[in-house]
Amino acid sequence: MAARTVSPGGALLRASRMFAIPAPIPPPPDDGVLASNFSSNTATLAYPTHQVITTLSSSRKQGDWGLKRPLPLKSTTKSSNPMLRVKAIDTIEQITDYTSATDHGITLRKFQELGMPLTARRAAGGEQDEKTNTLNLPQKSVFEESLDVTDIHPDKRAEAIETRWKFDGPWLAGMTPGEFNKWLSKEVRPRRPEFREFLKKKLASEMHANAAKVALDKGEEQPAPIDPSSVTEDQLVDYLRQLRHNNQALYDMVGQFLDLAPLKPPTAAQVGIPGSNHRLEFRETKSPYAAGGPPVTHPSAGLSYLRTSMYMDNHPVYGPQKQQPPVVARILRPRRPAQAMIARLGVAGFIVNTPLGDTAFNSRSGQGALYDKIDPDLDGGAKVWVQPQRAAVDAKGRVVLSVTDVSQEAVLVAQELLGNAACLGVKPAEKEMNRVETSSQIRQRFRAADVPTMSSAQDYGVRQ
């Protein structure tokens, strides 16, 4: 079919920025179940739901944001970061509904300043969910081909189940019993005849594969493919009986048919002692999203498009640095060893758990006292230097950051760049920069032109 022709004005409108604003996505679900969770209308959402828009300073002075009407200057010109999210271009009250979007805009800017790729970890059969503590296991960029496949042929979707992050069906482990029953009755039950057809197709291909194998062994000609319609009801019933005694094969069939998100096999404790009738068998999955559920967006969440953090930071004076530049973190909650509570930090706008193990965050001596209580005398709270290590997005769309101890040298170099400290090596460079030439030295430089001014063979080392 030929493309529908649009009027010139329509084509212009389609290419316009107003039409390019994506529809808002649903906000993260409220954790209402947990009584300990406070919910606030003004709290920053875990992820942005609206496009952030900005404008030029000259236009902002006139309230021009490219919208239906100029926005009030009083509330849009105060901020030094012109960022807004527009909830409605026009409402029934004839106003534009907008709020400041600096929260997510600046967070994105700060995150990009960290220069970190977003990673995912292929499950190694561990017990723990994706948390700051488990992040330290080896990880891969979410843009690697083994994790990020979106363009799949419909027939090959079953094979790519471990390299995908997007599934048509639900993640069963994340459903409540009510949701599960509703889904079962509304979506699954009407598809029973379709599933029988699907099984017939599978059975036909299986039978053909067996026959082909036998023929190959006997050195005969390959048999023709079996038509699924030629599979009899008796054969299908037998196949169903087989499947009912093989839980993994049955799950594979159902999972392929409904395109279910991969599930982490239950632990021995969850399954219980094997009963008298038969043992359940499970296969491990390699999908990183089996334990926590598939992500709501692309696993990078658009925060960073870097594929690796294996690059070196080059200092103007000291050259390539072993460590990436460390960052300042705010101590948001002190640790309480008695209640087994670790300290919480704020890094680049994200809440970060301090790592477990033998780190400065857990030491009792030295700097450790900093983490023990909040000192109200400190302006803006206590801050520490940390080394951001990895970042990932969990199934709910939240960013999970991990940090480690920072080397003293890296801190010193970073402090020096800020002008808060002086290192040993910077003195000669400073001296060189601030050197005052006397007039005779300058004259000397210009008068030295008696030697050939253009490059000579000697200069190039051709003739000694």
Binding site: P8, L13, S16, A88, I89, D90, I92, F446, A449, D450
Partner: protein, 382 residues
Amino acid sequence: MIIRNFGVRHGRRVLAAPLSRSCLRTLSSSSTRPATTPTTFAEPATAAPTTTQAYAAAQAAARQAELARIPANFAEYSHQREHTRNVGSRVESRYHPDQMLLDPPHDASLEMLMAAQVHMGHHVSQWNPANQRYIYGERAGIHIISLETTATHLRRAARVVEEVAYYGGLILFVGNRKEHMPVVVRAAELAQGYHLFQKWTPGAITNRDVILANGELQIVNELDQPIDGFGKHLRDRRPVMPDLVVCLNPLENYPLLHECGVATIPTIGIIDTDADPTWVTYQIPGNDDSLRSVTLIAGILGRAGQRGQQRRLADANEGIVTWSTPNDVAKFIERDAAEKARNVAKSAEGPVDEPTLTREDFLTDEELLAELSDGPRPPQGP
């Protein structure tokens, strides 16, 4: 530093000087710096002046030599400037928020209209179904006004403004939101019309004899030069009405538009999706809330008025008068001329007794009524 000014600033001396060693060092690949030859310093080893006179003479000679170099230096400077004038890039400003106000275009392209947010209508629940033919679709909760329709209607309205200006009509630009002030003033300035950025006094057309009683009037000729000798007429005549009203926010100006309708004055208005298009004679469907949209539309109408005025004055210079004298003024001129002729004849006859005024010398009631009911410029018969 701007490279093209380098030679001009520093003159030939710097250009003639050898390249600095520090520059050459970076070009050279040899690691060791070539040994510098011992240099002799160029301070002139002047022989000790025998007398102060000789010294003064030398000084004067040096000064003369220096002065003699000035013309050559200046020639060099001029030469440099002439030859490096076109060197380098030119930074042009791409977008200026006030551009549409200061220098409005003669016609709006679709891109211009879209950039000025003309296509954004109101929330879909606010629409007036009479505007359905102007609406292209619905997006993000608002109606989108068809850009082509806006462009067509704007062109038609501009044509109306231009012709009204050409035929010497009075054009009134009305926009009484706070930010409309510079917009209507600029449009009126271009079209040599009138502006209103405050509240319209209700009755300023239908009851103008009372409301505008103290307004000043002027009689001008075809070249817009004021003519004397109409004091008597100006004292007696009715206040004028506009011949065309351009309204930037029709929704807030219903009394004005109604009075224009009563007085059969054509109106032009920006019709947003919530406005009633029947309030105005010539609709321009568009966004009336955005400052940019209003500025663009008013600017284009102002430019159209400017074109009309220019055409009218050009024709007037060639002796073509595009408008006809209004009836009341024509009658006054006639009567005035007759009176003057009488006076001349009287003075030729010499002083005689004033004839007593008879009933025929006064206007009858019918004549008076006919004179009062005439508009300022009613259409002339063929």
